[in-house]
């Protein structure tokens, strides 16, 4: 068949298909209208194959290729996994994922909590050590923040409700930023994540040890215990996600490194979504509960312990009973 005949015979079909595509791309499609879309798409693919096989000119083949590409994008689009079932993710998939990746979670937790507790103990025993880790100005700042004589707690001395808002925003930005960094740096064969986990553990541990040692323990621990449950575990989980990325590069198994990285990234980004939820909860608790001073410290310790238990129980047991993969 000559090219002009082929063209004039099928031109109306191509135009109709292009119109359908435009509607789909603009999101104006109604469900009933497009039942025949796959059929039209396959016919277009056949026309394209014919046109290529018969050596028709590129000015015919190229527009057909463009149409086929647009059709391909509409027909085979990926279902987005994130927005689709948030509830299922929070209730079951996230804790399942954390349990599935328990090796990385364990390694990251040991790095982070290990360095935190270790250096806290060291600073408690050898008080001068703090000055080789944290600069003197920061130490002074921290001391004034958690001074038992001051009436308010946290990073602001005087707080109205609008300040709770301010701190909420600050915590969200600051903490999620750190979590993202800890995760992303894992791409450097895991070394970045190791560094950030260790470094953050070091700073937090040093400050904790120092404040306890100089007798500000009551104000400090009652402040941090509540939101710490979610904030610290979130950092550890972000580190675990980063380690997973790095490990996929170090030991890809029977896959190509690029392929193994792609698969690991898909898993670890789900972990990061859970981390973001954790950090939002933590920022909320930190801004609205941890900073109150009207509550007696023992209540805060009690609530804090309960939050740690809830967090641990959630990660260990949620999503085990129904459709559990194991």
């Amino acid at each position: 068949m000559k090219q002009s005949l082929f063209e004039s015979r099928h031109q109306p079909q191509w135009q109709a298909f292009a119109a359908q595509l435009t509607q789909l791309e603009q999101g104006k499609a109604k469900t009933g209208d497009f039942a025949d879309f796959p059929h039209h798409y396959r016919r277009l693919c056949q026309h394209l194959a014919l046109a290529q096989e018969r050596g028709y000119s590129s000015y015919l083949v190229d527009p057909l290729q463009q149409l086929a590409l647009r059709g391909h994008q509409q027909l085979y689009r990926h279902r987005s996994q994130l927005g689709a079932n948030v509830l299922g993710f929070v209730l079951a998939d996230f804790p399942r994922l954390v349990r599935e990746q328990w090796r990385f979670v364990l390694a990251a937790s040991m790095l982070f909590f290990g360095s935190l507790l270790g250096i806290a103990l060291l600073v408690y025993l050898f008080p001068d050590l703090i000055y080789s880790i944290v600069s003197p100005q920061q130490v002074a700042e921290m001391q004034s923040m958690y001074d038992p004589d001051a009436s308010r707690l946290g990073r602001a001395a005087e707080r109205a409700s609008s300040e709770d808002w301010m701190m909420f925003g600050y915590y969200v930005m600051h903490n999620i930023g750190i979590a993202f960094q800890t995760f992303a740096a894992g791409l450097l064969f895991g070394l970045g994540s190791v560094f950030f986990l260790f470094f953050n553990g070091l700073i937090i541990g040093a400050v904790a040890g120092h404040l306890t040692q100089i007798g500000y323990g009551q104000t400090f621990w009652s402040f941090v215990i509540g939101h710490g449950a979610f904030e610290l575990s979130a950092i550890a989980l972000a580190g675990a996600a980063g380690l997973q990325l790095g490990w996929a590069l170090i030991a890809p198994g029977h896959l190509a490194r690029s392929e193994s990285l792609r698969l690991a990234a898909r898993k670890s980004v789900q972990m990061i979504c859970g981390v973001m939820v954790f950090l939002l909860i933590a920022a909320f608790i930190e801004a609205y509960w941890s900073s109150t001073t009207t509550v007696a410290p023992w209540i805060k310790y009690l609530v804090g312990a309960a939050l740690w238990l809830v967090m641990a129980a959630y990660l260990l047991f949620a999503g085990r009973n129904h459709h559990a993969p194991e």
Binding site: Q3, C45, G55, P63, L69, H72, M173, I272, C273
Partner: protein, 230 residues
């Protein structure tokens, strides 16, 4: 077996068994697009901070949430909701797609934009630029992990007219590449000067058995014959 053509086309094979070519974009247009996005983000933040400054502490809180959203989510939201184009990419005529040519998903966009942090190490996109320059499809590290590709958006083509000439039939058969070459020559003649068209056509004067100065009209005639009656 002819050697691979000297271009950067990226072929995806669809389940229908056809190859669709994508054109990956290199370092320069991508950096320009990023620079534009950076400027735009700076502008948005500047304006919003001015407005929020009147709200006091609440403003500072909202401001830090905004700073967070704009610095980490600007790209993700635009890429997923706007057909793979952030404003900078839109201007440069680029878009992001998955490796298989389908629109980018939430998780892929999140991965490639979170890992941007590593691409920026140790300064000024050093690692990202290195990876982009050495990869056959110009992927930075984030693209490698997310399985995404930055391509040129397809532009609508306008079709030139084949010059008028009496349709001819050659006494020997042409193979597919020869057919397409002759059609291509006829259709793109408008972009060539007369001298260049003559020079190109003269190469074929001997096999066509015509004098070199008649080769152009002879080829146009063959092209007409291939196209068929209009």
């Amino acid at each position: 077996m002819p050697s691979a053509p000297l271009d950067t086309l990226y072929q995806i094979e669809t389940p229908e068994g056809i190859d669709l070519p994508l054109r990956p974009a290199g370092l320069l247009p991508r950096s320009l697009a990023f620079a534009f996005d950076l400027g735009l983000r700076g502008l948005i933040l500047g304006i919003l901070f001015l407005a929020l400054a009147f709200l006091g502490n609440l403003g500072i809180g909202l401001g830090s949430i905004l700073l967070f959203l704009v610095s980490w989510w600007y790209m993700v939201l635009f890429e997923v909701l706007n057909q793979g184009c952030s404003p900078g990419k839109q201007i440069m005529g680029l878009r992001v797609v998955q490796d298989d040519g389908t629109p980018i998903s939430w998780s892929a966009s999140l991965i490639r934009n979170l890992l941007r942090f590593v691409d920026m190490l140790p300064f000024g996109y050093f690692l990202g630029a290195l990876s982009c320059l050495q990869h056959p499809h110009f992927k930075r590290l984030g693209d490698l992990a997310a399985g995404t590709l930055v391509i040129y958006r397809e532009q609508p083509l306008s079709r030139p007219q084949v010059p008028q000439a009496p349709a001819l039939r050659l006494p020997f058969a042409l193979d597919l590449n020869e057919q397409r070459a002759i059609l291509g020559f006829a259709e793109r003649q408008g972009e060539l000067s007369t001298e260049r068209a003559n020079e190109l056509a003269a190469i074929l004067a001997t096999p066509l058995q015509v004098s070199p100065n008649r080769a152009v009209s002879e080829l146009n005639g063959v092209a007409r014959g291939l196209l068929g009656p209009t």
